[in-house]
């Protein structure tokens, strides 16, 4: 099965989007005549594997390499670099060029920046005195379809750059990406944003509309009805970096939702990501786990909706997944037994053979689930889950503090410690100074002073900080009913099933925004950090789609041609698989008149989020 997802069932024509990206890339490669060596930045290479098959690239006379510090070994006289516009990569490239010059090699160099060339990168090339040797181009890849309902902007570092460095380039990128979507699928009439970064994206998007006005005929064609921007990057850290004064002003607020990604995800796909890391829609495993006897060999297992079984179980709570798989296996066994004993008609045989086709999928997921359960059955995992719930319920401060302290003393992996600590700090809107300083000292003592930089970053983004006012977590939790007792994970009636009892805050917000807009929940929104905005684009005020939206709060959708209207939900700063599962659950529910498409800077987990904030001195 291919890693490139099958997009046939998508509510938007994402296939055309992907084909455009393919054509763009092929054109770039074709335009450079002759044999060439294509050097791709490894992460970007992963992204590209969702767009085009590498074997296809080889047809254009290409030697493929990954960018690294070592110089490029090739016989080709043309070297084409395909890299994201990141400063640190420029040094490697210039050192390659210098290396070639010192060896007396004469080559033609091309750099294609993804998604666009940036002055800061070219500046470094100039300072390294190689700029004049290089032909520079762009590969405008702003959006990659990950699956039939997920678009990724592939901005791994968006959160960190925005929050720690104050570099809001990624926000521009997101706006540009949405703008590009609009030029394909029509302007989006309704825009709702929550959180400072989201509002900024909405503002930039507005600017783009005034700068490059769309024809009114395009406006009529809008396939996407509503855009909802939700923000991981709360306003809080934004202001913190500016001055202490500001810090005090908004210390009372919570981040829009930093809590959800810090909790352990309990859906099938979420768990796979937590334990095994999903990259670009596939997970890499020892082949022995998948029952292939090849010692030490790794294999890639693609995870996307082309896999029918996965589509069925990916968003279920893991407990249920095990049962479902068991059931399926049993029923297949029964079928098999029947087929061997009784006389069957041809059509029944056919049905059976059809079922057999799903056998490889079955084995794959049974193997995976088995592997996962070795992690989930560990007492330490259960204890951690317990602790997460204790923290979220905010019931007993001391137990949590002690637990985290002990983790530090035992020198458990730093990221695990930080995830809990962040959860703890955020729900309490910071820690009392005594505890704050104590825990930081213990962290430095246990893990080394080089983590001072990480602690500094954590404070900048507001994940771990001194308490300056009372937390309003309890109010928010109650108002949005974030804790749901007695969730039935097998037949869920609320999104809380994805965390076995905790309903992700971000999704509650989205749900409300989709149904009725921000207005009915102004009061709650004020408790959360960052401004919120709601705009209707000019020329839409009297359009029928708007009326539909209003009517939809009654659970009815009146679009004439029978299509469901489409909502693009963009998570600025990343989204977890569990949240995606919750959204899919919502959109599949009865009375929900919308199809949801998810846009995200990147699919994240608590682990990967904390990792981006990591910065050592060393």
């Amino acid at each position: 099965m291919a890693q490139i997802p099958n997009l046939d069932n998508s509510p938007l024509n994402l296939k055309s989007l992907r084909e455009q990206s393919q054509r763009d890339l092929v054109k770039i490669l074709k335009d450079i005549r002759g044999k060439k060596c294509l050097v791709i930045e490894p992460k970007l290479g992963g992204t590209l594997s969702l767009i085009i098959q590498t074997s296809l690239l080889k047809e254009y006379g290409i030697e493929l390499r990954h960018l690294s510090a070592e110089s490029v070994q090739t016989d080709c006289s043309k070297v084409v670099y395909l890299v994201p516009s990141q400063r640190d990569l420029m040094k490697s490239i210039s050192s390659h060029v210098h290396d070639d010059i010192s060896k007396g090699l004469q080559r033609e160099y091309y750099i294609y920046f993804v998604p666009r060339r940036e002055i800061q990168c070219e500046r470094i090339l100039e300072e390294e005195k190689v700029h004049h040797l290089i032909t520079i181009g762009e590969y405008p890849l702003y959006v990659v379809p990950l699956d039939e309902d997920i678009l990724s902007f592939e901005l791994d570092l968006a959160y960190k750059q925005c929050q720690v460095d104050g570099d809001t380039g990624s926000l521009w990128h997101i706006a540009k990406a949405i703008h590009k979507l609009e030029s394909t699928f029509g302007a989006i009439p309704n825009v709702r944003a929550k959180g400072k970064a989201s509002v900024m994206v909405a503002d930039i998007l507005d600017r783009m509309h005034t700068e490059e006005p769309m024809n009114s005929s395009d406006m009529a064609l809008s396939e996407i009805n509503t855009l909802i921007l939700i923000d991981r990057e709360a306003s809080l850290p934004f202001l913190c970096t500016n001055s202490y004064y500001n810090l005090k002003l908004c210390a009372a607020c919570l981040q829009v939702d930093m809590i959800t990604p810090m909790c352990s995800q309990l859906t099938y796909e979420g768990l796979i990501d937590e334990f095994l890391r999903i990259n670009n829609g596939s997970v890499e495993l020892d082949s022995s786990i998948m029952g292939v006897q090849q010692e030490g060999k790794k294999m890639k297992v693609p995870l996307n909706s082309s896999d029918k079984l996965l589509k069925e179980i990916r968003d279920l709570n893991f407990e249920v997944v095990v049962q479902v798989l068991k059931q399926k296996a049993t029923s297949m066994k029964q079928d098999y037994a029947e087929i061997t004993t009784a006389n069957q008609s041809v059509s029944e045989l056919k049905d059976f053979v059809k079922k057999l086709n799903s056998l490889p999928e079955m084995t794959r997921h049974i193997n995976l689930a088995q592997h996962l359960s070795t992690f989930t059955s560990k007492p330490s995992f259960l204890a951690k889950l317990d602790m997460e719930h204790t923290i979220i319920e905010a019931s007993s401060y001391d137990i949590c503090l002690e637990y985290i302290e002990e983790m530090i003393h035992k020198q458990e992996p730093l990221i695990n410690v930080l995830r809990l600590l962040i959860l703890f700090s955020v729900t309490n809107s910071g820690l009392p100074k005594k505890n704050f300083d104590y825990l930081r000292r213990e962290l430095l003592h246990s893990y080394g002073f080089e983590h001072m930089a990480t602690l500094n970053n954590l404070e900048k983004v507001g994940w771990l900080k001194k308490q300056e006012s009372k937390s309003n977590w309890l109010t928010v939790k109650r108002a949005l009913q974030l804790i749901v007792e007695d969730t039935d994970t097998a037949n869920p009636n609320d999104i809380a099933y994805v965390f076995s009892g905790y309903a992700p805050l971000s999704i509650r917000l989205v749900h409300n925004a989709v149904l009725s807009g921000w207005r009915p929940m102004e009061e709650i929104l004020k408790l959360l950090p960052g401004p919120h905005t709601e705009t209707k684009r000019a020329g839409f005020t009297s359009s029928p789609s708007f009326a539909t939206l209003q009517g939809a709060s009654n659970g009815l959708d009146k679009i004439a041609d029978g299509r469901r209207s489409l909502v693009l939900v963009v998570f600025v700063g990343g989204v977890t698989f569990a949240e995606i599962a919750a959204l899919r659950f919502l959109s599949a529910r009865e009375g929900m008149a919308y199809d949801l498409i998810i846009g995200t800077t990147k699919i994240v987990s608590g682990h990967s989020l904390v990792e981006t904030i990591f910065e050592r001195f060393g």
């Binding site: 104050g166 006005p213 302290e405 002990e406 020198q411 930081r440 000292r441 002073f449 001072m452």
Partner: protein
């Protein structure tokens, strides 16, 4: 019949009719074509006139200096200028496709003029050989030229847009050619220009790479003149014995042959469309030769100039401009004498209808079946007419007929009206562009508009582009730029008003481009005012920088949210200003400041320190120093234990002092102090143990390493030095002892005193090391019953686990334990019974 007069003006050549309506009586005065060199642009373009310096002419009341004058096709003067260019005689003059006048003089210099007779710099030269040998002849085509030198060399400018001359292959012949003709690059197989050269009695094909001789029987003997048809498929040849031949371009087959009975070649030889060839000697009538039949003679008593067009020839004389064309088939079908075609009957029906005669109906009945084609023919014929009243009559006939047609495409008439309105507008003598409908279609509306704009007919261009539904941006933009150039006397504010008034007509127009033009014309202030209105930041910001408005540029870039633009401004200011001024500009602006910091963090460390110092952010400097201390450590020169630890510690000390400057950073200050201390201790440890394993590990790791090495005193020392809490100390020591599997020491340690965190660390260490026996020593000591139960469960002792759990009275725990022991049937039933008992108690 009324139609007779129309057809009476036609001439028949073979089986085709020709007509030559007068387009304009020329408005110019005292222009004699025979005294002048004249260049006429095709597609009804302008006419350039200059006195011919190769002829001896009598000067009347005029200056001896020659004047280059440019007229419209109707003879209205557009512009003139005095010709003062050096370089010798003017050899060739022609208009390019974008209506630039190319003038080539003897020494190979190429002068270019626009339609306003302004010289376009720089001049281009054809090269050294041309300069030395002199140019004797030029053959132009739409977008290029081939020049012949006295030495028989051929030079070519293949594209006037690029203006890069190149030499063609040498013919090797001694004589100069008799004649030349060019096959345009777009019609050749190679894509390069090919020149047909008649030398002696051969014809050569010359291009950049080589020379070929034409083989074949078709042409024999000397060739005096050649012309290629406009579609590049046919060639007209005038031979030495006075015959005119037409062959296809590959010299295969003769399509036309006629003996002109003149040994002298004609002065002008031109294709009329693709159907006939015109020959002009200045003392005989104009001769038109067709494929068969007798030629047609036209009598003139004036010198003529033939201007070939795609569908005919324009004939310019001193007093008038005519258009000789083959009468279109639709027109023939209507106006031919005695025609009974449906179209003719329809036209006639309209006539009856106008005269209220019942014959109109009779006519219509006659052609009922073929009415649509009759209507179509009338529309088509209307398009080909230059006479407005006749256009109108034909269209009325069409419209009259259409009323009786059920299935006719109704927008055809409307479309034709639209086209004709445009054509009539530009044919107006004031504008003077006599385009035929075929020429208009070939030229395309957008090129027509560009030409109008170029001739400064902005209003008409604007109206036309609006009328045909094209983007008006080109027109308005050109107007604005021309306006700025032309209005040096108007003050900035007033001019801005005038410009804005028009610019706002077009959405999405680039104000920045207009502003850039204003700046180029030395009106910086106007530029600044204009750029203010540019909505696209990506265009606005660079321009602001170029006119020195850095502050505004920085503001606009920040507002746009496009970080790349902010960087553009940042680097610009950074380079231009003193550091302190630069710091001042960015300090109060969060986005530019943060971007600068982020960039400088990677590449300009020292400069960043200056920035933080100048803005008083000492803690940031401290962080930088601290970071540097690590880089020193990573330096391969700094092998462990070398004196390089000295500088590292010094840097950390410095950082600590900086942190201490501000109250808010006591924690960081303390941490830096501890770090320096740790490095010193680790250094000592490395010296004393002679093992380079301590530096850069954490305090906890240092303690563990000491214990693992058995150096308990050192471990103790580190503990007291850093005030390590008892809790942490116990975890560390227990784990360290377990790593060395020193169970004895572990037990001793457990008995030193009552452990401050209970016995759980001991149990965990043993269980993790898979030492059941050791674990059992500590499990009973666990105070919490639940913990005890789980610990038993982990080492597989179901019974004990169950006991502990039931003592704890925790049903949920029992259930979980049961799951753990699922495989073990005996244990499982045990848990069930215990739980039952528990719940019973609960009731």
């Amino acid at each position: 019949m009324a139609n007779v007069s129309v057809a009476a003006e036609w001439q028949l050549l073979y089986n085709r009719y020709y007509r030559k309506p007068e387009l304009y009586p020329l408005r110019w005065k005292n222009i004699d074509l025979s005294r002048n060199k004249v260049a006429c642009a095709p597609f009804g373009g302008p006419i350039a006139v200059i006195r011919d310096d190769s002829k001896i002419v009598q000067l009347y009341s005029e200056s001896a200096l020659r004047k280059l004058r440019i007229f419209t096709s109707s003879g209205v003067l557009i512009s003139d200028t005095v010709w003062k260019n050096p370089g010798g005689r003017l050899i060739g003059m022609s208009w390019t496709e974008d209506q630039t006048l190319i003038c080539i003089v003897q020494d190979g210099t190429v002068y270019r003029y626009n339609i306003h007779a302004e010289l376009i710099e720089p001049n281009v030269t054809l090269g050294k050989e041309c300069f030395e040998q002199n140019v004797v002849e030029c053959v132009f085509w739409g977008n290029g030229v081939v020049c012949l030198t006295e030495g028989g060399l051929l030079f070519c400018i293949p594209d006037f847009k690029v203006m890069r001359p190149c030499q063609l292959a040498e013919t090797g012949a001694e004589d100069l050619p008799n004649c030349m003709a060019v096959i345009e690059p777009k019609y050749t197989v190679s894509g390069n220009v090919e020149v047909l050269v008649g030398i002696g009695d051969r014809i050569l094909i010359v291009d950049e790479d080589g020379v070929q001789t034409v083989e074949g029987e078709v042409v024999q003997g000397l060739v005096q003149k050649m012309v290629v048809s406009w579609d590049g498929k046919f060639l007209a040849i005038f031979t030495h014995d006075g015959r005119i031949l037409v062959t296809d371009i590959n010299f295969k087959g003769v399509l036309l042959e006629y003996n002109c009975e003149s040994a002298l070649p004609p002065e002008q030889l031109a294709w009329c469309g693709l159907d006939s060839v015109l020959l002009y000697w200045d003392d005989t009538p104009l001769l038109m030769v067709g494929p068969r039949g007798d030629p047609v003679h036209y009598f003139y008593d004036e010198p003529l100039l033939l201007i070939p067009e795609c569908d005919g020839v324009r004939i310019l004389s001193n007093t008038s401009l005519e258009f000789l064309q083959r009468v279109p088939d639709s027109t023939v079908s209507i106006f031919k004498i005695g025609s009974t075609s449906p179209a003719a009957l329809l036209y006639d029906a309209l006539d009856h209808f106008d005269r209220r005669s019942a014959k109109a109906d009779e006519n219509l009945r006659l052609i009922q079946k073929s009415l649509p084609e009759a209507v179509e023919a009338c529309i088509d014929a209307a398009g080909h007419e230059f006479d407005v009243s006749r256009q109108r009559t034909l269209l009325r006939a069409a419209s009259y007929g259409q009323a009786f047609c059920s299935n006719f495409q109704r927008d055809r008439i409307q479309e034709m009206c639209k086209t004709l309105r445009v054509l009539n507008a530009v044919r107006d003598p004031e504008i003077g562009i006599p385009l035929s409908i075929n020429q208009y279609k070939l030229l395309t509306p957008s090129v027509l508009i560009a030409r109008l704009v170029n001739a400064h007919c902005h209003l008409l261009a604007l109206r036309i582009s609006e009328y045909v539904g094209m983007n008006q941006e080109v027109v308005i933009m050109h107007w604005a730029c021309s306006k700025i150039t032309a209005s040096l006397a108007i003050p900035d504010a007033a001019l801005l008003e005038i410009l804005l008034d028009k610019l706002k007509l077009c959405r999405g127009i680039s104000y920045a481009a207009v502003a850039a033009h204003a700046d180029k014309n030395g009106r910086r202030k106007l530029a600044a005012m204009l750029v203010e209105h540019e909505p696209r930041s990506s265009k606005q910001v660079p321009l602001l920088l170029s006119i020195g408005e850095e502050d505004t540029a920085l503001m606009k870039a920040t507002e746009s949210g496009d970080t790349d633009l902010v960087y553009l401004v940042l680097f610009h200011i950074w380079q231009k200003k003193q550091p302190l001024e630069f710091f001042g500009m960015i300090q109060a602006r969060p986005l530019p400041r943060d971007l600068f910091i982020s960039y400088a963090r990677c590449y300009k460390h020292e400069f960043l320190k200056d920035f933080f110092l100048s803005t008083g952010q000492l803690q940031e400097v401290a962080f930088l120093l601290w970071k540097e201390s690590w880089e020193l450590g990573k330096n391969p020169m700094a092998s462990k234990g070398s004196p390089l630890h000295g500088p590292r510690i010094k840097l950390i000390d410095k950082a600590q002092n900086l942190f201490a400057e501000t109250k808010e950073h006591t924690f960081e200050s303390k941490a830096a102090e501890e770090h320096a201390k740790l490095l010193r201790i680790q250094h000592e440890l490395e010296v004393s143990t002679k093992q380079a394993i301590f530096v850069d590990s954490s305090i906890s790791d240092t303690i563990r390493t000491c214990i693992v090495l058995g150096n308990h005193r050192a471990a103790m020392k580190v503990k007291t030095e850093f005030k390590v809490s008892e809790k942490r100390w116990y975890w560390l020591k227990v784990f360290a002892l377990a790593t060395t599997r020193d169970w004895e020491a572990l037990e001793k340690f457990s008995k030193e005193k009552r452990p401050p965190i209970g016995y759980r660390p001991f149990v965990e260490a043993c269980v993790d090391a898979d030492e059941k026996g050791e674990a059992l020593k500590y499990i009973p000591k666990l105070a919490d019953l639940r913990e005890r139960a789980e610990a038993y469960a982990r080492i597989g002792m179901a019974k004990e686990a169950a006991d502990a759990a039931s003592q704890a009275k925790d049903g949920e725990l029992l259930g979980r334990l049961k799951l753990t022991f699922q495989q073990n049937a005996a244990a499982s039933s045990l848990f069930d019974s215990l739980r039952d008992r528990l719940s019973f108690q609960g009731v």
